[in-house]
């Protein structure tokens, strides 16, 4: 305890030793009262250990704090028994160090104690050693503060901070929390993944992490810092590497306990993939519509051409529906063409099989290499082959016992390197009586082959009707396309 410094004012009174003793006693009493008030206010308990007598003592508050019964003795061993076993070695080591080391006179230590009434408590121990001139300890005295409530609150805070952090990290969306200086306080793993980031963002500036952020977005951030909430369903973010990310985002300010804006919370969803799908879907829809409309014009043309060559409604219907079947077979082939590329061989087999003929049978031989057809040339070519096949069955080689059909094709290469698909359709053994001038026989089919194929597909064609023979040749230019050659 500090001695009260002498005051100039009191010097006169000090002349009387009795007065002086009284005054000192009074000052001491006041000082003790102050100390007690301070102790009560802090709910601290005080203790003392006398090195000479090895006696411990403590005040009632200390006694009660540790949960001692009123009549329990106040001994060092009794106190040590109340220190949590896990913390005991550390506390004893600290006190022993003070005992051993002159100059190391004060301690300040936190440890757990176990009270039979209150269970585990946290104590804050402060104190000092009093030594003689040789540095030998005369006594130790200290106070203990019960800091259990504070420790619990700290633990809860740590826990809730940990939970918040876990929540952020594991949130199933890209979320980030920034402070007033746009520095990261938290970010979800998804945030890192979506933006291709790695490492710890905490403490780093958003604008350092993303130097490519446009002024437009910085303006949005400033508005949100001022209290605005902004969002976009479809916004592009051009990354430093030149790629473009499409984002759906929302930015809110967050407020602290007293309602001041503390920074921003950003939510974002990478919708690049969704957008791509939407675009692809639109392309598909457009293509479908195009194909459907075109199909209608093709049907219209077939109807007109069929009408031109038929004399009765019944004949028209019969012809027309056969041609429509051929057209619908091609659509099937086309719709599967992404998985199964269409070859000239497949097209010919399909048309012959539709008439109940097998390309490997004795009456028809079909031979040639695998040549893929471009989708856009399939429809016209299929209709032409359909016309050839139905004509063969109705009037040509397949209408008689001894007729034979041979369909062959090969790839021909011109001197300049351009390649062609050369197809020959030859019917032999045809019965002569068939009328070569029959308009039905050579109407639509002949126009298709002699006019439409050259016009639409730049094909070269011949169409020769003999007495007992029929020959047709179709030469289609080939294009080099992803590794293979494809008929144009």
């Amino acid at each position: 305890m500090k001695r009260t410094p002498p005051t100039t004012m009191g010097r006169g009174k000090d002349a009387d030793p009795i007065e002086r003793a009284k005054r000192i006693e009074e000052e001491l009493r006041q000082s003790e009262q102050l100390l007690r008030l301070a102790m009560e206010a802090s709910s601290a308990g005080a203790w003392n250990w006398n090195a000479r007598t090895n006696e411990s003592n403590w005040d009632d508050r200390y006694h009660e704090m540790y949960g001692f019964a009123p009549d329990e003795p106040r001994t060092y061993e009794g106190w040590l028994g109340r220190v949590h076993p896990d913390d005991r070695p550390r506390v004893v080591a600290r006190l022993e160090a003070v005992l051993r080391t002159p100059g190391d006179d004060e301690w300040n230590i936190e440890f757990r104690a176990v009270s039979p009434r209150r269970g585990v408590m946290w104590m804050h121990g402060l104190g000092r050693a009093w030594r003689d001139r040789d540095g030998q300890v005369l006594s130790l005295s200290g106070i203990n503060l019960d800091i259990t409530a504070r420790k619990r609150a700290e633990g809860e805070l740590r826990e809730s901070e940990g939970q918040l952090r876990l929540f952020f990290e594991n949130a199933p969306s890209a979320v980030a929390m920034l402070d007033l200086d746009m520095r990261y306080l938290a970010a979800s793993r998804r945030w890192l993944e979506d933006f291709g980031l790695s490492g710890d963002l905490i403490g780093r500036s958003h604008y350092d992490v993303f130097p490519e952020i446009p002024e437009r977005w910085k303006a949005i951030h400033r508005r949100c810092m001022a209290g605005a909430v902004e969002r976009s369903d479809d916004d592009s973010f051009e990354r430093a590497d030149g790629s473009v990310q499409w984002l759906r985002w929302e930015i809110h300010p967050w407020r602290n306990a007293i309602g001041e804006i503390g920074g921003l919370i950003m939510l974002s969803e990478d919708v690049t993939e969704t957008r791509l799908w939407r675009e692809r879907q639109q392309v598909l829809l457009d293509e479908m519509q195009h194909r459907t409309r075109n199909l209608i014009t093709v049907v219209e043309a077939i109807a007109q051409q069929t009408m031109r060559a038929t004399s009765s409604m019944d004949a028209f219907m019969a012809q027309f529906s056969i041609r429509l079947s051929a057209l619908s077979r091609v659509q099937g082939l086309l719709s599967r063409s992404d998985r199964t590329p269409i070859t000239i061989g497949a097209l010919i087999s399909m048309e012959l099989e539709a008439l109940g003929l097998h390309s490997g049978g004795p009456r028809a031989s079909v031979e040639g290499p695998n040549v893929r057809l471009r989708k856009r040339s399939v429809q016209t070519l299929a209709l032409a082959i359909h016309e050839l096949a139905t004509n063969a069955q109705k009037y040509g080689a397949l209408a008689t016992e001894n007729g034979r059909l041979s369909v062959t094709w090969r790839i021909e290469r011109a001197a300049d390197g351009d390649a062609c698909l050369a197809l020959e359709w030859i019917e032999t053994g045809i019965v002569q009586r068939l009328d070569r001038a029959d308009p039905q026989r050579f109407g639509y089919g002949r126009t298709l082959i002699e006019k439409a194929l050259p016009y639409s597909l730049s094909a070269k064609t011949t169409f020769e009707v003999g007495d007992r023979e029929f020959r047709c040749s179709i030469t289609l230019p080939l294009e080099r396309l992803d590794g293979g050659e494809v008929a144009r």
Binding site: T292, R293, Q304, T380, A452, Y455, S456
Partner: protein, 123 residues
Amino acid sequence: MTKPEARSPGRRVLVVEDDYFVADSLALALKAHGIDVLGPVANVDEALELIARDERIDGAILDVNLKGELVFSVGDVLRTRGVPYVFTTGYDASSVARHAGGAPCFEKPVPPAQLIDALFGEH
């Protein structure tokens, strides 16, 4: 709207259409209206060739999708020459309009008279 030469016969109209039968019937219909048909041709190269060769073209009917090839470059050349043209398409006309540079677009099938009307304001 009546221009002095509006009713004069022998207008020369370029037809670009990839389907033979559609092109054929359109050409026939145009001829029936007294129009001189240039083409028809089925692709961009042949169309550009015709334009380069012919000094006089009064109008053009252009099918947008020519077996996968888009016809717009033909329209661009015609515009620089001040030749009116219209597009016909199997696509949605509105989706084509974006690339049409203000030229009228018609969804197929379209009656030929409408095309002539769009080109020359009357028929």
